[in-house]
């Protein structure tokens, strides 16, 4: 019997290589798990038939374009859309023999922190189904946590991989901007969007990253990795310098249980031999969020202009062309994309561009420089990933600003294009707490090394308590 709740991708690959199980058996085991638990959790928007082959199964956030498999980005405006080409990341997965289990739920166009903005209904947290799995990639995180997939891909603009990984108790990497191709991904904010892995262990996360990373001629913003991905093996962190930015660890709204779990993990890092020191990111934390909410909506308003009912997706019935555009967008988009299209269009309008978008881009430089200065002293920065554990469904839907604060601690490093790894570091109120490690550009190997050492030392059990047999 294959226990999908416990099986890591690494172990599954070993069993496949040793021919102890077949690819078809493995795929069937996950389909069974989906059949058993996804009725309650609603992680998947589309489940695939087994198409044969012998590789590992994988789940994909539904913003990742898949040839012949519906791709909706959680939006009614893309209902029924079936891409005619694969995104580059999917081509790379297929080249490694990986097989797509299905497409996972997301806030509409990845805009949100709970999956409650999905046009197809929210996903539920496997630790407590009355709570959200985080977002926007809540479907991928919940699927991995509940044993419905050994690993998954998400996408992250301001925290959409790291935050749901934190809330579901698994490992998520937002890679250095430019290391993973965006070709074939439904665009939200192009200067921030990055695809990245969600997994149950740091080693699985690193291995999946090694498959998808690297330059792609179809995405001119990508670069080759300066050094190959190293799977972390040692629990050695001696001599590594870890900074604790005051503002990211003491921000208003961080729950005491979250702060305590992260503090204990940082103490553990020190025990393991890391040099831990306090530091400060005052401008990044104060201005990161307001600037993000200019840049991301501005770029979204431009990217979402393509949904006009002409080439694909929903089209409203209307006798006249302009009316058709208006009706299509009125019917197809939900409230959050409409809100951001309006804010973003205003921020980009003639006479306001310099004052809003242009100014926010300058602040972005300040945020980047503030981080760069810290990396002269530190190899990585540590903080909570999310200020809170998973919150109840409906708790923040009435107040968009309260929802936006979910990403307070993940946004600054996203603005600077830096890699961030979230690993589970304990429980608060019986729910997982995520710890965020941020490094300089291309420092994924350092993050994997620290994350792996901490993972081994903490011995966190990623299987939700209520699902343990």
């Amino acid at each position: 019997v294959i226990d999908t709740l416990r099986l890591t991708a690494e172990e599954a690959k070993r069993l496949l290589d040793a021919r102890e199980i077949s690819g078809a058996e493995l795929f069937a085991a996950y389909l069974d798990a989906i059949g058993e638990r996804d009725g309650e959790l609603h992680c998947f928007l589309h489940v695939c038939e087994d198409s044969g082959g012998d590789g590992l199964p994988i789940a994909l956030k539904d913003v990742i374009g898949t040839k012949g498999i519906p791709t909706t980005a959680g939006s009614k405006i893309l209902e029924g859309y079936v891409p005619v080409y694969d995104s580059t990341v999917v081509e790379r997965l297929k080249a490694h023999g990986l097989r797509i289990l299905g497409k996972t739920n997301t806030d509409e166009f990845a805009m949100g922190s709970s999956t409650e903005n999905s046009a197809f209904g929210p996903s539920h947290n496997p630790w407590d189904p009355t709570r959200v799995p985080g977002g926007s990639g809540g479907g991928s995180a919940a699927a991995v946590s509940a044993g419905l997939a050994p690993w998954a891909l998400g996408s992250d603009t301001g925290g959409s991989i790291k935050q749901p990984s934190a809330l579901c108790g698994n490992v998520g990497l937002r890679p250095t901007y430019g290391t993973v191709s965006r070709y074939g991904i439904v665009a939200f904010a192009s200067s921030l969007d990055q695809v990245g892995p969600v997994a149950r262990t740091v080693r699985d996360c690193a291995f999946l990253y090694s498959i998808i990373a690297g330059r792609d001629p179809c995405d001119s913003t990508t670069v080759e990795l300066p050094h190959p991905v190293e799977l972390p093996a040692s629990e050695e962190v001696h001599g590594l310098r870890v900074g604790v930015p005051r503002e990211l660890n003491e921000a208003e709204g961080i729950e005491p249980g979250v702060a305590a779990a992260v503090r204990a993990a940082v103490a553990k890092l020190e025990e393991l031999g890391a040099e831990v020191g306090e530091c400060s990111l005052p401008l990044s934390v104060e201005y990161g969020m307001p600037c993000y909410y200019l840049i991301a909506p501005a770029e979204a308003s431009s990217n979402l202009a393509r949904y006009d009912g002409v080439r694909y997706g929903h089209r409203a019935a209307a006798a006249e062309r302009l009316e058709m555009y208006k009706q299509t967008r009125e019917e197809g988009f939900g409230d959050e994309p409409k809100r951001r299209i309006m804010v973003g269009t205003y921020a980009l309008s003639a006479g306001y561009y310099d004052a809003y978008y242009g100014q926010a881009q300058k602040v972005r430089t300040v945020i980047k420089r503030e981080h760069d200065a810290l990396f002269e002293t530190f190899d990585a920065l540590v903080s909570p990933t999310s200020p809170t554990v998973a919150f109840p469904l409906g708790a923040r839907t009435a107040d968009p600003l309260a929802m936006y604060l979910s990403d307070l601690l993940t946004i600054p490093s996203c603005m600077a294009g830096l890699p961030g790894l979230s690993i589970p570091c304990g429980l608060s109120e019986g729910l997982p707490v995520g710890l965020q490690l941020v490094g300089p550009q291309f420092a994924e190997n350092t993050l994997f090394r620290i994350g792996h050492a901490l993972e081994q030392a903490l011995g966190f059990d990623p299987v939700p308590e209520r699902l343990r047999g």
Binding site: V84, Y177, R315, A319, E320, L322, R364, T365, Q441
Partner: protein, 48 residues
């Protein structure tokens, strides 16, 4: 302070100008809500 439009300092990304196969017309039109031969079809513009 200069603006940051892109987090990596990537400039002048060139590719060789070699023709590649492109999407066949049938596939490009596969998701069209309405088509007319090899074209996407839209309702007529208004009088204004």
């Amino acid at each position: 302070v200069p603006p940051t439009s892109h987090p990596l300092e990537v400039v002048n990304v060139w590719e060789d100008d070699e023709p590649q196969p492109c999407l066949p017309v049938e596939e490009a039109l596969a998701n069209a809500p309405e088509r007319d031969g090899d074209f996407f079809k839209v309702p007529p513009g208004g009088a204004g």
